[in-house]
């Protein structure tokens, strides 16, 4: 497989992003910045118990306050006919009856029990304090172990506390392990962690009584997603909701799929009172309620032959999903990620997702891929140590030969990434440096100036490298909980742009023939208009909140239409202006959203060139457009018309096309990471001193933006490996509910992350992009944890820490645990 190095960008990358100016001058419009005259303020009364019956809610003191306007309880919502909290069924999960305001029972500390509406913001917390709730505490299920026992059920209408189960089996793992010369076993895990974007959740809703419609500004990664949820939960037609978001202070998954009660409650209050309703979470509420992630554990057995080729993988995966969330695919994605990177002929994996009395689980940057990558990559490094070969070499020997089930169209870049990592990280020099430092340590012993060095690597081939051997081995049993694969028609191919024989992606002619196709996570919507002067507007279903699509999509349109960057504007985050969309999450916007933009642009060109062809007789394939003027690479008899001429002939003042673009398969960036840490063994303190990323995100639209995503993603993984943990006591109380106690990295904890680009364009996406937003996090955990363990081995052979975060206390205990 020949792989090319980074492709030349055809459009100049602008210095600075379009969105920067307003954000730098304090003119961003985040939801809490917005005000509607006369707005009232909503507050939530939250459960003090992890599990309890609600005996009584006393609002009497409240009602005498001049600031009090209205209150809602769970019973009120039932009376209004509000449906239960949305729960997606891909993959299938046990239906969990959850309510926007608890009914009869509370199931996690922080669960909303009542909502109040007050006149003044300052009065809100005063009045929340005056709501009296009587609880009858019940035993709380606070660990997977307790959940397994099933003595207390989180949901009484379930037989047990299992929310999902999925098994993957092919070949004969048990016997392969029994006869393998090299077998390792490890208990791996990542504690409960969360997205923690800087901007808390917020909503401003206004019900227009005159027009019977809801205007909703909300911190969401998909306005269309929220619209759908509100519609189905409030039992009101979708078109009644006008959902908007302008600027948003990060999401990382927490503002994505999860259906939170507040937007619905705000709509309800507004409908009842006629007032606009504002709600903004405190950071404490963020910690109590925002959908959390990770909390996944893997008891893994990996077996290799004499040469280190994997022959079998057996694993038990367990996940604590809290009261279970709207979208709960993460642990299954972990499972597939774990299985997809290498050639594994015998597999026996069992996954169980458990319900507990904790806040719901939802996608958190990587949404299962960091966990799965961590499990397999940690196991591979442990195996490499056992066999006594270089960890990167072990990867080389096991790369999957071709893309598979999760595969994008692009070839697997594994070998190239690994080779590049060795080169760009100056691997041999690092090994030498490590050896020098560690021998000095061995001689002199621990002290402040004597630290130990550890190196760790991690690799993920990306979707292009994921592989399902079950097809080849022919011995598979189809596992339960099989992930539904997307059924796309045809692959996009960004190199075959205007070719006549380009396969048609699944889209609908913009002039309205055919049914409006539905969108799902493999697709995205775009509409592009080009006016007579050559100015373009892109309407996208994507919803950027830091990822820069306002700039990168403008670059794509500029490239396709030949319109100068400054004459392209990008519109998103408004269900009125953008009729359909899936949103921004899961590393999909540049890849899927970008493809839709390119598709719509190409349709414009197709229409326009068709018009020019009609007028001049020149074949469309010779035509191009730049700055609103046509040119031909072939001789023309007649002079080429202007853009205005063509539009006049078409009877329009602007050309507008739509794309509901569906990928034939998803495609994600692969990466090979190296992390170097120093460990002060007496303190157990880790410092990350070097971090190198080699990534393949395919075609790069904006290199600075891509690198920024990787920097941020890697620091997420560093934070998750060193500090971050949502900790509970045995009553289910959250002990880490402030930014003092839940530690996200500061500038002192970060470092200069070096990024190098390799690989080849995706053939699944029309713009050649492979989604990279989560890649840094996906690959990062294993690199850091492997580095820490490498250092531990120098201090105390046999000392290991396999559950993240590796805090100083945990590291110190790991050292002490061995002799």
């Amino acid at each position: 497989m020949e792989l090319s190095v980074i492709l030349e960008q055809t459009v100049d990358e602008p210095k600075g992003r379009v969105e920067d100016r307003r954000l730098l001058t304090g003119k961003g419009r985040f939801v809490d910045d917005l005000k509607i005259e006369g707005q009232a303020y909503m507050g939530i009364v939250r459960s003090m118990y992890a599990h309890a019956r609600i005996k009584r809610i006393d609002l009497s003191t409240l009602r005498s306050s001049p600031d009090f306007i209205a209150a809602l309880t769970g019973e009120d919502l039932l009376t209004e006919g509000v449906a239960t909290v949305s729960q997606n069924q891909w993959p299938p999960q046990k239906p969990a009856k959850r309510y926007h305001l608890a009914v009869g029972k509370v199931r996690f500390v922080g669960e909303p029990v009542a909502a109040i509406l007050v006149r003044r913001k300052n009065a809100l917390e005063d009045l929340i304090e005056q709501v009296g709730v009587d609880y009858e505490p019940l035993p709380a299920v606070t660990t997977i172990e307790e959940s397994k026992k099933g003595t207390t059920l989180v949901f009484e209408d379930w037989r047990d506390n299992v929310s999902q189960s999925a098994d993957q089996k092919w070949g004969r793992a048990e016997s392969a392990i029994a006869s393998a010369p090299n077998v390792i076993r490890a208990k791996l895990g990542i504690a409960r962690q969360e997205s923690a974007p800087l901007e808390p959740h917020s909503v401003l809703a206004r019900y227009d009584r005159g027009r019977d419609l809801y205007e909703v500004f909300a911190t969401v990664q998909s306005v269309h997603g929220l619209r759908e949820q509100l519609s189905s939960e409030l039992q009101v037609p979708e078109e009644k909701f006008h959902v908007k978001v302008m600027d948003m202070g990060g999401g990382f998954g927490s503002k994505g799929a999860q259906s939170y009660p507040e937007p619905l409650l705000a709509c309800l209050f507004s409908r009842r009172t006629g007032l606009p309703v504002k709600w903004t979470a405190t950071r404490t509420e963020e910690f109590l309620e925002a959908a959390t992630g990770r909390d996944e554990y893997c008891d893994i057995t990996l077996a290799c032959d004499k040469e280190g080729r994997v022959v079998a993988l057996k694993a038990n995966l367990e996940c604590d999903a809290g009261v279970t969330g709207t979208q709960n695919h993460m642990s299954q994605l972990s499972m597939w990620t774990m299985l997809g990177g290498y050639r594994i002929p015998n597999v026996d994996v069992q996954l169980r997702v458990y319900a507990t009395n904790k806040m719901p689980m939802g996608p958190v940057r990587g949404a299962g891929a960091p966990e799965g990558t961590y499990f397999i990559e940690r196991a591979m490094t442990i195996m490499a140590e056992k066999i006594g070969i270089d960890p990167l070499e072990l990867r080389r020997r096991n790369l999957a030969p071709r893309p598979g089930q999760w595969g994008g169209g692009g070839p697997a870049p594994g070998m190239e990434l690994i080779d590049a990592l060795v080169k760009e990280s100056r691997y041999q020099e690092l090994l030498k440096w490590k050896s020098e430092v560690n021998s000095r340590f061995a001689r002199q012993g621990p002290s402040k100036s004597n630290v130990v060095v550890g190196l760790g690597v991690s690799f993920r081939g990306g979707a292009g490298g994921d592989f399902d051997w079950s097809e080849e081995s022919g011995e598979s049993e189809s596992g339960s909980g099989q992930w539904p694969t997307s059924e796309g028609e045809g692959a996009g191919d960004w190199r075959r742009s205007e070719a006549e024989d380009a396969p048609s992606p699944s889209w609908v002619d913009s002039r309205g023939e055919g049914d409006t196709p539905t969108l799902d996570f493999t697709s995205e919507y775009a509409r592009v208009t080009l006016d007579r002067s050559g100015r373009a507007t892109v309407y996208t279903g994507s919803s950027p909140h830091g990822q820069g699509e306002e700039t990168s999509f403008a670059q794509l349109a500029s490239e396709e239409l030949g319109t100068p960057l400054g004459d392209v504007s990008v519109v998103w985050g408004d269900t009125d202006l953008v009729p359909a969309g899936i949103g921004t999450f899961g590393s999909r916007s540049a890849a899927t959203g970008g493809s839709a933009v390119v598709d719509a642009c190409r349709k414009i060109k197709s229409q326009l060139f068709g018009g020019v062809a009609t007028i001049t007789g020149v074949d469309a394939k010779f035509l191009s457009i730049r700055k609103g003027r046509f040119s031909s690479s072939a001789q023309t008899q007649k002079p080429l018309p202007t853009l205005a001429d063509v539009m006049e002939m078409m009877g329009v003042t602007e050309v507008s096309t739509e794309s509901y673009f569906r990928l034939s398969s998803l495609d994600y960036a692969g990466g090979a990471h190296l992390c170097a840490i120093t460990l002060d063994p007496e303190l157990g303190a880790v410092k990350v001193v070097k971090y190198v990323v080699v990534e393949d995100c395919g075609r790069i639209i904006n290199k600075t933006i891509v690198e920024g995503q990787l920097h941020g993603g890697v620091l997420h993984a560093i934070g998750g490996s060193l500090f971050e943990k949502l900790a509970y006591d045995d009553q289910g109380n959250l002990l880490t509910s402030t930014m003092m106690d839940y530690c996200i990295p500061t500038a002192l904890d970060s470092l200069e992350v070096e990024v190098f680009h390799r690989g080849s364009p995706s053939t699944a996406t029309l713009d050649g992009v492979k989604g990279v937003g989560e890649s840094g996090t996906n690959v990062g955990y294993a690199a850091v944890m492997n580095a820490i363990n490498d250092a531990l081995a120098q201090v105390r052979p046999g000392a290991r820490i396999d559950v993240a975060p590796a805090t100083p206390d945990a590291i110190s205990a790991a050292i002490a645990a061995v002799g």
Binding site: R17, L24, G26, S195, G712, V753
Partner: protein, 174 residues
């Protein structure tokens, strides 16, 4: 530090005056009104943000009497008579401040929520220490959390700002 002696009852409103971005502002606040809410809710200066409850995230950082402070940890009544600079006061009409230019040219922001606070911490850092080392930069912005950038391009932006401020005749940019 000037400012008259204030006596304010819990249930009442008290008048405060302060100079913000060179302009005099007057408002009425409860004693418990935090400076950040006074700025955002009373004066509609929404560029300064609230990201946490406990004064850890730094998104609310403004410059008060020449020092970077977290406006969520300052009572509006305490800021009576003070001179305050918020993000809205950095640019000179259309002309961006060198710090703002450095941040956009070096991709020092992604979602932009922490940016206002970071810009002001940067400004005060560079005023005091025009040529900071990397360590000094990181220490200087320790109180400004960012979840998007990994701080890599933030540090780069601050270095660039230091360079450009040193080069320019920065009259009026102090």
């Amino acid at each position: 530090m000037s400012g008259k002696n204030v006596k304010a009852k819990a249930s009442g409103l008290t008048e405060v005056f302060m100079k913000i971005n060179g302009r005099e502002y007057r408002g009425e606040v409860e004693p418990r009104t935090l400076l950040v809410y006074f700025l955002r809710d009373e004066l509609n200066l929404t560029g300064t943000h609230v990201g946490c409850d406990t004064g850890h995230c730094g998104a609310c950082t403004v410059v008060m009497d020449g020092k970077a402070v977290k406006s969520c940890m300052v009572l509006a009544v305490r800021a009576e008579g003070a001179e305050i600079l918020t993000v809205e006061g950095l640019a000179d009409d259309d002309r961006l401040h060198p710090v703002q230019v450095a941040f956009t040219e070096n991709h020092g922001l992604q979602c932009g929520f922490c940016t206002a606070g970071l810009l002001l911490s940067t400004l005060t850092l560079l005023r005091r220490n025009p040529h900071p080392t990397e360590e000094e930069i990181r220490r200087g912005i320790e109180g400004n959390l960012c979840r998007c950038t990994g701080y890599v391009n933030v540090v780069k932006s601050i270095r660039a700002a230091a360079d450009s401020m040193a080069k320019q005749e920065v009259k009026g940019w102090s």
